[in-house]
Structure formats: C-alpha cells, structure tokens
C-alpha cells in the first residue's frame, strides 16, 4: 500500500536514524511511504501552550496538502500523530472551530474538509502490514534478546485509536514476531518528561532515571517516538554519575530493531547515530 508520509522535524535531525530505518523497513515489507511535499512543523507540544488556533492551523496545513493525494497520512512521530489526529477530532467535536479554521487556511490559499485519515507508523506496521508479514520477512532471528517496548505517552493517548491507551501491545507483538522477547515493563506508557528535560532539567532527569532503572535486566529499549528516544538515549552518562550506577542501555527505534531482524546493515539503519553505542548488542546478536 502507498501512504503519504510526514516524517516530522526531529526525523530530519536528531532522529534521522528513525526516518532512514522507517523508510527502509516499510520498503522491505512491500509498502511505500511517499513523502508529503513541503510539510511543515505540527507544533509539537509547544504551540498549544501559546496559541490554541495556531495549534490547530499548523497541522491542518499538512492535512490540507495530504488530502489532495487521497492517501492516508502516516507519521512516525508521536507528537505529530497526536496533533494531526486531534485536528480531525476537534473539527467533529467543536463545530465553531470549522469556520475559524476555514478562515485561517483560506488566508493561506488552502482548504481542508476534515477527511484525511491520520495514522501512526506503529499502527501501519502492526495492523495494516501485520505481525505475520513481519515474521515472514525475518532473516536474522533475534531470539533471546530482551527488549523493552517503550511506547511513551502520546503514541497511544489520549485517543487509544489503534491500541490500548494504558498497556498497549502492538509493539510487544512485533518484538515477538522477530524472535525477541518483550521485557515485562509496566511503565510502557509512562511519560519521559518531554521538553522538561530542557526547561526543568531536574524533573526530566528524575523521570528518565526511573524509566531506565525499571529497564535494568533488559538488553535494549525500543521506542516509536523521537522525543522519547532522545530523552532515554542522550542523558545516560549524566544519570550514571548522579545515581552512582553505570547505566548502559541502548535505545533503538522500533524500525531499527526490525531492520536488524530483516538483515539490513548498521549503515542502512543509521545505528551509528545512536548515542549509547549499540555495538555490544550487535555482538550479542552474532553469537545468538
């Protein structure tokens, strides 16, 4: 199947490994992501805190552009997903919003009907492509690898559109499909702190420390959100110093893990861009 694809800003920079591996994995699975031309920032969590109308209008521009292609719009970033999905939800629930949004988009020469379906990449892999198709594509069995399925909050909340909003299982099933073992982890959807890591660092550090501590005993964490990946991956050295315990936990994007199982190379998955080195993990895979 062909989808319109909006990678989102992080995937052009700090999460390039996610973008590259997502495109590669979807191609391997026989589907296609057609990048939405000239997409713009969805506003992340920031814009709703300064302007309600802008928080609707920015993602709506992307929806207006995507609607022209008649394809579903897939995004790999959980924040983009929520913002895009929320536009459709609000247009249905808040009738006065429609007129105001029309007026704003008209100023930019755009129109949006409210009908473009928004999908998270995880939803597409788990539910459109399916666990069986993923399992069929495996070349390198990851058997025995203990993998934490960390969903983060906005991947499934608040709408729980394609998976449970408390304890989702779609990623768990995909981890099993490639022969690995989902690590029991009750904090699958506990928040990583998002931008608090920048604005109120002590709080951000405490949230991330707790998540990493609960993951001890696993071989790696996988996630489908660029913000979660960054927060969990980038501060481990600092957290180790603070806690006085060495924490070394590779944090991969789900598509990087799937790519490894499909036999794709480290380079094709940009694994060298992850901050906590994944070399140990790769050696472990070779001995399996």
């Amino acid at each position: 199947m062909r989808y319109s694809y909006m990678p989102g800003c992080s995937l052009l920079s700090t999460a390039r490994g996610y973008d590259t591996s997502a495109r590669a994995v979807i191609r391997e699975l026989g589907s296609e992501l057609v990048e939405l031309e000239d997409w713009n920032c969805c506003g992340a969590n920031a814009i709703e805190s300064v302007s309600y109308l802008l928080s609707v209008a920015l993602p709506a521009r992307n929806l207006a552009l995507a609607e022209l292609s008649n394809r579903e719009l897939v995004t790999s970033c959980s924040s983009c997903f929520l913002n895009l999905f929320k536009v459709n939800h609000r247009l249905q629930r808040e009738p006065p919003l429609r007129g105001r949004l029309e007026e704003i988009l008209a100023a930019a020469g755009l129109r949006y009907s409210g009908k473009c379906r928004v999908r998270h990449l995880l939803d597409v892999i788990a539910n459109d492509i399916g666990v069986q198709a993923v399992a069929n594509r495996v070349e390198r069995n990851l058997s025995g690898l203990k993998v934490v399925p960390y969903y983060g909050c906005q991947t499934v909340r608040p709408y729980g559109e394609y998976d449970g909003p408390y304890l989702p299982t779609s990623m768990d099933r995909l981890i099993e499909a490639v022969g690995a073992v989902p690590f029991p982890y009750l904090w699958k959807t506990r928040c990583c702190g998002g931008i608090l890591m920048t604005t109120e660092k002590a709080i951000g550090m405490s949230l991330v420390s707790e998540l990493l501590a609960a993951a001890q005993g696993a071989d790696c964490i996988v996630t489908v959100c660029p913000m979660c990946q960054m927060n969990l991956d980038a501060y481990q050295r600092e957290i180790s110093v603070q806690l006085g315990v060495r924490i070394h936990m590779p944090v991969l994007f789900l598509t990087q893990l799937l790519g490894l199982a499909f036999g794709l190379s480290e380079r094709e998955l940009l694994l060298d861009q992850n901050i906590v080195p994944v070399s140990g993990l790769l050696r472990q895979l070779q001995t399996v």
Binding site: S13, R16, A44, Y52, L58, P158, L196, E200, K201, I203
Partner: protein, 193 residues
C-alpha cells in the same frame, strides 16, 4: 503537601474563572476530588498544587493562586489524567489553557517554559519547520539561563554524530508565505475580544 488555609474574601474570587479555563465548565464543576489525576501525574510531586488541588481552586475561583502556581507548567501533556478522569474533565487541555492565560496576564511562575514555547513558535514562523539549534540558542538567550552550559556537551555530541546542522535555513519550506499568512490570521482572530 502541608495544609493551606485561605481567608476567602469576595475580591479574591473570580467565579468566571472556570468558564475561561476549561472547554467544559460543567464537567469541571462535578470534580469529586477523587485524586485519580494526581495519582496518575508523573510530575505532581514537584507541583505547588497537585492537579486535584488545582481543580478545587478553579472551582472556588481563586484565579491568582492558580495562575501564579508552577503546577500547569510542569504538565507534559501525557494525557493519563484526561484518560482516567471519572468525570470526563479535559484535564490536559485545561493545563494548556492555564499556560496561555498565565502568560497573557503576566503571571507565569516558571518563565523558562513560557520562553521555550515562544522560542519554538518564532522558530517555526521563520522556517516552517523546527530547527533545534536555533530553538535552543533562542531559548537560552531569552531565558537568560546559565543552564545552557549543561547542554553544550550534548550539543557537541549531536553535531559530531551528524544529528544536527548549524544552518537553520536548511530546514526552510517553500510555503513560508503560507505559514506567515496563517500566523497573521491567527493573531488577527485572537486579538478580537
């Protein structure tokens, strides 16, 4: 949190407050103080008022007490409270509204968050997409934070790994005129009473 007593006087109370902060006042007024929101909140431990306490203050109309607290600034929009609220209160959206209101009334306590959001808004206006290096530079400049030093090492690691580029114009989209038109129209609509 220790018990706090208010000597309520008429001028402290703004009974229109609940109407302004939540998309659904009726629901907020039905809050039974069960505390599920607070129990769900990952940052409640650091808040001046927990979410449960915040709803009660809003019901009472203690506007200044609410808007000058740090509580809503620590909301990460994880939506767990919203999902679990027995009364169906739009807790997370209410937190966002409080952020906007506190800034517009000059009452923000955690100004670092407010400056971050504004820097984000302005960067996206200039480029159509987010440029992380410019965002951080703008934010640390405006927030006058020495904390920037703590991030230089991380910034260097990201640059060395090829994760960030220093050229902000590289992220520019073609439809910048559309973005500008959207920002202007929103400003115009929001300026109307």
């Amino acid at each position: 949190m220790a018990e706090k007593t208010f000597n309520l006087t008429r001028d402290m109370l703004d009974h229109t407050f609940a109407d302004l902060v939540t998309p659904d006042r009726e629901k907020l007024l039905t809050c039974i103080q069960c505390g599920t929101c607070t129990a769900s909140c990952p940052t409640a431990y650091a808040m001046d008022y927990t979410p449960r306490q915040l709803w009660r203050l809003i019901q009472l109309g203690l506007k200044e007490e609410v808007l000058t607290s740090n509580s809503f600034w620590l909301c990460t929009a994880c939506y767990l409270c919203t999902l679990r609220c027995l009364r169906g209160i739009a807790c997370t959206e209410t937190m966002s509204t409080l952020k906007r209101m506190a800034v517009s009334m000059g009452m923000e306590k955690l100004s670092s968050s407010a400056r971050f959001y504004e820097a984000f808004r302005d960067t996206v206006r200039r480029h159509g997409r987010l440029h992380e290096v410019e965002l951080m530079a703008t934010f640390f400049g405006r927030a006058k934070r020495l904390g920037a030093m703590g991030y230089t090492r991380l910034g260097f690691t990201l640059w060395r790994k090829g994760k960030v580029s220093l050229d902000a114009s590289a992220v520019n989209i073609r439809g910048l005129d559309q973005i500008e038109a959207i920002y202007r129209k929103v400003e115009e609509l929001e300026a109307k009473p």
